[in-house]
Amino acid sequence: MSASTFGSGIRRREDPRLITGTATYTDDIVLPGMLHAAMLRSPFAHARITSIDTSAAAEAPGVVAVYTGADTEGEIGPAPCAWLLPDSGLSIADYHCIAKDTARYVGDIVAVVVAESPHQAYDALDLIDVDYDMLDAIVEPKESAAEGAPQLHAEIEGNQAFHWTVTGGGDIGEAFESAAVVVKETIVQQRLIPNAMEPRAALASYTQATGELTLWNTTQNPHIVRFLMSLVVGIPEDRLRVIAPEVGGGFGSKIAVYPADFITVFCSKKLGVPVKWVETRSENYQATTHGRDHVQEIELAATSDGKIVGLRATVWAGMGAYLSTAAPGIPTILHGLMLSGVYDIPAIHEDVYGLYTNTTPVEAYRGAGRPEATFMVERLVDLLAAKLDIDPAEVRRRNFIPKFDNGHDVVTGLTYDSGDYDGALTKLLDKAGYDQLREEQVEARKQGRYIGLGLSTYVEICGLGPSQVAGAIGFQGGLWESAIVRFHPSGKVNVMIGASPHGQGEETTFAQIIAGELGVSPDDVKVIHGDTDNTPMGWGTYGSRTTAVGGAALALAARKIRDKAKVIAAHLLEAAVEDMEYEDGKFFVKGSPDSSKTIQDIALMANVAWNMPEGVEAGLEATTFYDPPNFVFPYGAHLARVEVDAETGSVTLQRYVAVDDCGPQINPVIVEGQVHGGIVQGIGQALWEEGVYDEDGQLLTGTMLDYAIPRADGLPDIEVHSTVTPSPHHPLGVKGIGEAGTIASTAAVYNAVIDALQPLGVSSVRMPLTPERVWRSIQAAQEDN
């Protein structure tokens, strides 16, 4: 059982409820007496609120309450930023849940209406009269840093939220001065809108008599929500229960605790009845955090035979109007420390300026900082290859960190755990038939067709992470995970975890871990998560950490159970513990496997406790808090093949091949699903997606009519392969796979398009690579020639 279950692609345990429409998401919950909240949001990006008249709204049918910033003053604190990046001059502007006197982005909350039905709440929003005094807005991060730019926060000079640097290795100036070749590029990592298919929602139910609150929330980390909620609304943590029921995707956008969540709780607390708030999709576009938004000036120095000697970058990262919960760590720690990529780079320097702009706050979005790093490095490596006229695969090979299985230091200060980057690339080129693809490209070019091949070799940091490091980098929480494994008398198992999966399938893979460790059927294991009253503390599901950290906690808890079970088995079999053997859920005395005790036998005995060994507690249950000794570093190599229609600029993605290494795979089908989804999100960034503001700060891509997320058509079947390099420090050797695809694919597709356009003299196009952008760069290159 165990051997066949761990590593097999069994069907997911979570699916029966999801395919029958019986799963319960936040918006599906109805409580007696429940009221509905709707938020009035600023239609202007930067404006002083001179007056608000809510009287007509308050009188409207069904309206129970209308609150403005004046009502929440002193009752709820500002929405906190919880990543206090050290040594960066971090300046945090107060993010009032309801804007008090100034609105700073389109979507900033100005008032809230609570009514008997959502229709009535929205009717009343139309009746609130707000007078605004318009102020100049600023939307581009680099311009926000410029002299004379409109200023968002009086107390913060130059709109600068922070200036963070990473310097490592040799003298960067010298590396560039003495280099034979230098390649440079300016990249705009455009703003992306996460688009989890389930919009955000909160249902708060406060009982005035007991002072207790239950909050159902679309979150990736209910324990963090409880912690921050308690600080902001003043309900003690022991009276606060946060439940993440079924959650319809997050991709980083459900990490933060948002003003609307605090306001919904405030309303329930004030009114003493349950209050539900559900955002509309257009509201989601304005108010749920965005991702990326970097302007990157980057350069790479190398020898004439393509050996990299230094990498230097300056990044202006748009943070939006306020700093969201984890925002400062994304373009810095999760980005700058990864600039060595899969390469041996002797000197690295990066400056990152975090800037306030009159836009929706920016947070983690699938990959969070790492796609932006991978893109920089992979772009530079391709530019180097083009400059030296060496095949891009070959340039990569000349610079790869050689294979290692227990630690490799890069100059940014990280120690990668294990990797064989050349192995991944070799497998990729083989599976893709790279040489033949190159020959086909030559043929196609002769016929005037523009076919391009793009490579992206990446390593990512995930499994966040050692809590001591968390503290050192200013993360206002721990980064360990927990698990409780509880055997019932009948041998069935409940697993309670602190992490909070929302689509990744850990109810299945964690049952497989238990099956692998303890020999029970995964069908006999129920994994419970997402309810702070029923689960041990944990820091949540993001950063590809649930299996990497929570899975480790679970494996260790299972091993504690195994150890205890062995003692009980020895007692029952009247043998010495040292003589006991364990295999596939059975304990037996060495040499006599026929007389054995199953884990189920032990569970029954431990629970009835009729005959326990001296000094051994009743029950078969274990709890583990696992704080990882290091991060894990999955990696891989991807290839995209595109064809560009030079006449119109349209790009067709013809083929996509991926090799990923996330260590041993608990469930390869689930791994493959994560890879598919991640890759398509990254393709979306390369080809279609962009959150666009006009210069007044109006979101021009404010609905799904304008913002193009990938659809089923227009995508090839993705060819997924893997290699397996265990992490030396993880109890199961596993790494993470949730973000890998996204981290790799944007660069692969982009590099392919540039490769296709090479005969036309195009070396740079702003993303997304819309037909017009590609067409214009072709036109411009032709004019230059």
Partner: protein, 290 residues
């Protein structure tokens, strides 16, 4: 997502609908709802009442009668796309209808609502203009039949006046030596037309083009005929070279000031590449001739 309040009346017949409209002048007609309901949900429209004509079955049909294919206003995009009659005799219309939105949209959206709404990014106006359609209108301003050039007055504006109901659309039938086609550059998010090109061609026994109709939509407020392209095609044998050179004249049909642009595709770009879609439509139409 939560529409403002309005009243609702269901009409059992065209006459009843006309009477309801007369009684409630601020009311709007509701057909398939696939342009109107999205506006209501975003509170971008706030009619006092809706008159639902969706159940007037007499308006849902595709018939050929005396030299005309008569299409009831309530015929859905799916019905257009799957109609054998249209596929063989007005191919471009079936083709365009099949490219609208997605299957669920096509199941409920109607041809009448599509042209009455007259969104510049819609597909059907350009095709219907290309095929020489006549729009039959009844109601407030009396019964009449309006040609495409008069029907589409400009951006989201048509000859349908207050109290009017569009009942059907007639397309003159053509002989089998005629082929028509529609080519579309779809917006990646909305799926509406960034550029739509419709072409209809007639050839004589020798394969020489006797008549060409080419219309552009998507990038202009109301459908525009590419007369220069049409003229250049007549008399040619519709080979690739002839089509390419005629398509090259597409820009001439487009007054630069009229071309629409947006954050996805600028007017300049659309105007420059429109010829590619004209060429595609012409190539398919030519292949269908004979």
């Amino acid at each position: 997502m939560f529409a403002p309040q309005f009243d609702y009346y269901r009409a059992g017949s065209v006459a009843e609908a006309a009477a309801l409209l007369a009684e409630h002048p601020e009311a709007k007609l509701l057909a398939g709802g696939h342009s109107l309901i999205p506006l209501l949900k975003l509170r971008l429209a706030a009619p006092s009442a809706l008159v639902d004509i969706g159940r007037i079955d007499s308006l849902r049909s595709i018939r050929e009668e005396s030299g005309t294919i008569e299409i009831g206003a309530l015929t859905t995009h799916s019905e257009l796309a799957s109609s054998e009659l249209l596929r063989s005799r007005a191919t471009a219309l079936a083709e365009a209808a099949g490219m609208i939105g997605d299957p669920a949209v096509r199941n409920r959206g109607t041809i009448g609502g599509n042209v009455a709404h007259a969104d510049p990014a819609s597909d059907l106006p350009a095709v219907l203009a290309c095929l020489g359609a006549e729009f039959r209108v009844t109601g407030g301003n009396g019964d009449r039949s309006v040609g495409a050039s008069d029907f589409f007055e400009g951006l989201m504006s048509t000859a349908i006046g207050e109290g009017d109901i569009l009942t059907s659309i007639g397309i003159p039938t053509v002989d089998s030596a005629c082929g028509s086609a529609y080519a579309k550059f779809a917006h990646p998010a909305s799926r509406y037309a960034v550029i739509g090109a419709a072409a209809a061609l007639v050839v004589d026994e020798d394969g020489s083009c006797t008549c060409a109709s080419v219309t552009l939509g998507g990038l202009v407020p109301a459908p525009v005929r590419a007369t220069a392209v049409e003229e250049a095609l007549v008399g040619t044998r519709l080979d690739a070279a002839a089509i390419a050179s005629a398509s090259g004249l597409t820009g001439d049909a487009l007054d630069a000031d009229d071309v629409l642009g947006d954050v996805y595709a600028s007017a300049e770009y659309r105007r420059s590449v429109a010829q590619v879609w004209v060429q595609r439509a012409l190539s398919s139409a030519a292949a269908r001739c004979g």
